[in-house]
Amino acid sequence: MSGASDSPGRRALRRFLRHRLAVFGLVVVALFLLAAILAPWIAPADPLQTSWTAIRKPPSLEHLFGTDENGRDVLSRVLYGARASMAAGVISVSVALLIGVPIGVLAGLAGGWVDAVIARIADAMLSVPFLILAIALAAFLGPALENAMLAIAVTASPIFVRLARGMALEARATDWVEAARALGNPPWRLGLVHVLPNIIPPLLVQATLSIAEAIIAEASLSFLGLGQQPPAPSWGSMLNSAQRFLTQAPWLAVFPGLAIFLVVLAFNLMGDGLRDALDPRGERR
């Protein structure tokens, strides 16, 4: 074993790659990301193209996932729908990280009343279940995919505030941060150089699990008509219209739901794998 391959990062990567289910999750996530990016090139048809002659046709060689109540190709709509879901998952959680982490680190390092106020605000937001808060926010912002994403980002941020604050509090009590402070480092430098690198592993795990939650939230909001607006395809709104044709066209309900389930499962598997890989004590729960 060479010295270079033994950095903590590489060891974690090796542990992750040994975790077969986590690798499966990574592969599925990568496939869905590719589907989202390449949708215009790989989709067999235009997702908005309606057709009078192909209304509610069951899956066939011509339409692998069948067609919907307006004769649109379901496979193409599922592929394009990946865009809304992946964007909502990845962008919302990135924004939540950008809001939550600096605020959390600030609270932990500053202490005093700043910390008390921030901690109470995070508590208050966490006392309402995720989906209900997201629905309320999206309802007041108005129905649109961007608003749904904003609502999800804001709702997802307090968990990062709490996590970053906890880690910053822990770091503040250590000798090396105390020493750095004594040397006259300004607070922002303490946060950036001494606290942030240490909290990246748990943040990464939480972010992965939060993406799964954000994707479900986007699908839920779109299902309720608060997210992606028709006719633009999204898995949630496809399921909503599929519900009206359960007896005549059950395939409409199968494929978008299966897509949500697979993506969420994949992110959860990745999150579990990351947790095991990044925890040096490494006991599998």
């Binding site: 208050a124 006392s127 989906l131 309802a139 007041f140 839920s220 399921l239 309900a253």
Partner: protein
């Protein structure tokens, strides 16, 4: 114990107050003037607009509007629904028992599946049964509620015709029909929680089984069932009890979509309908009521934790 309880209550009050400010603030996010929205056809009539503004106190300064709102909210009065013209609190109290029935059934299903699965999986660690249980738990956690609901309707109502696809019959009216209308949504709600409970029971059991007292019990020659059931499980259940209480609160969120899919007139359907009707006082009231229930449940969880764990009582 009393001092601890008072300190805990002292944390809850500011949390709820901050939340009330945020929920009140939601109104400010609304695009446009609510008075114009409410006036509808009569939006051109300044007299109607003035009347609406006066009635809803929209003409007062914001802090005054907030104080008025929160002072009434503390007394359990969340104002009037804009559309149904009834007190929001009354609407919530009407819908809550329906969701409560659903939540209790879901929770029972989750307990009956999750805890034994967790125990078996810990005892048979790294065997096929363990993998199966872990797989099912992950399945339950990753399955979106609403899709599972639609798939169950497809199978049990459309294909097999065993259960009604939607609707609700109160328990007091016809218990059998009531169970028939709620068993599918309850299972949908319970499956995710069963997964969470299974994982936590498994982790707690693995911890308990490696303790000295379990080794002692085994060394005494006690039957393995007694060791697992009486010694390990009792201790392992302590964290699971706390967690279960909090998961119970989360059922409320799950109920939102589940009730929508099965057209059950509960708490979740109330907020969805309110969102569609732009009935903002109802949305605010429901969010506040949910927070109240959630905070109360976590207080109960803490008390239970103290009650089942005597070592903490003196702290």
């Amino acid at each position: 114990m009393l001092a601890w309880f008072l300190r805990r209550l002292g944390q809850i009050v500011p949390t709820l107050l901050i939340l009330s400010v945020m929920i009140f603030g939601l109104q400010q996010l609304m695009p446009g003037d609510p008075a114009l929205t409410l006036a509808g056809e009569e939006r051109g009539d300044p007299q109607v607009l003035a009347q609406i503004r006066a009635e809803l106190r929209l003409d007062r300064p914001l802090p005054e509007q907030y104080l008025h709102w929160v002072a009434r909210a503390v007394q359990g009065d969340f104002g009037f629904s804009w559309r149904i013209r009834e007190p929001v609190a009354k609407l919530i109290l009407e819908k809550l028992p329906v969701t409560f029935q659903l939540a209790v059934m879901a929770f029972l299903i989750a307990l009956v599946i999750g805890i034994p699965a967790g125990v078996i999986s810990a005892v048979r660690r790294d065997r096929p049964v363990d993998w199966l249980a872990n797989g099912l738990a992950l399945f339950g956690i990753s399955m979106p509620n609403f899709w599972l609901g639609i798939m169950m309707i497809l199978l049990f109502s459309v294909q097999l015709g065993w259960l009604p696809p939607s609707g609700y019959v109160p328990l007091t009216e016809d218990p059998v029909q009531s169970l028939a209308t709620t068993i599918m949504p309850a299972f949908v709600l319970g499956s995710g929680i069963a997964g969470v409970l299974m994982r936590h029971t498994r982790a707690a059991m693995l911890g308990a089984l490696s303790q000295d007292y379990v080794r002692t019990a085994r060394a005494k020659g006690l039957d393995e069932r007694v060791v697992v059931g009486r010694h390990a499980l009792r201790n392992a259940l302590i964290p699971v009890v706390t967690l279960g209480t909090i998961e119970f609160g989360r059922l409320l969120a799950g109920a939102v979509l589940t009730e929508q899919i099965f057209t059950i007139p509960g708490f979740g359907k109330l907020i969805v309908d309110a969102v569609f009707n732009r009935d903002y006082p109802v949305v605010q009231g429901v969010v506040m009521a949910t927070a109240l229930i959630f905070v109360t449940l976590s207080l109960i969880a803490d008390i239970l934790y103290m009650a089942v764990n005597p070592r903490l009582r003196s702290a």
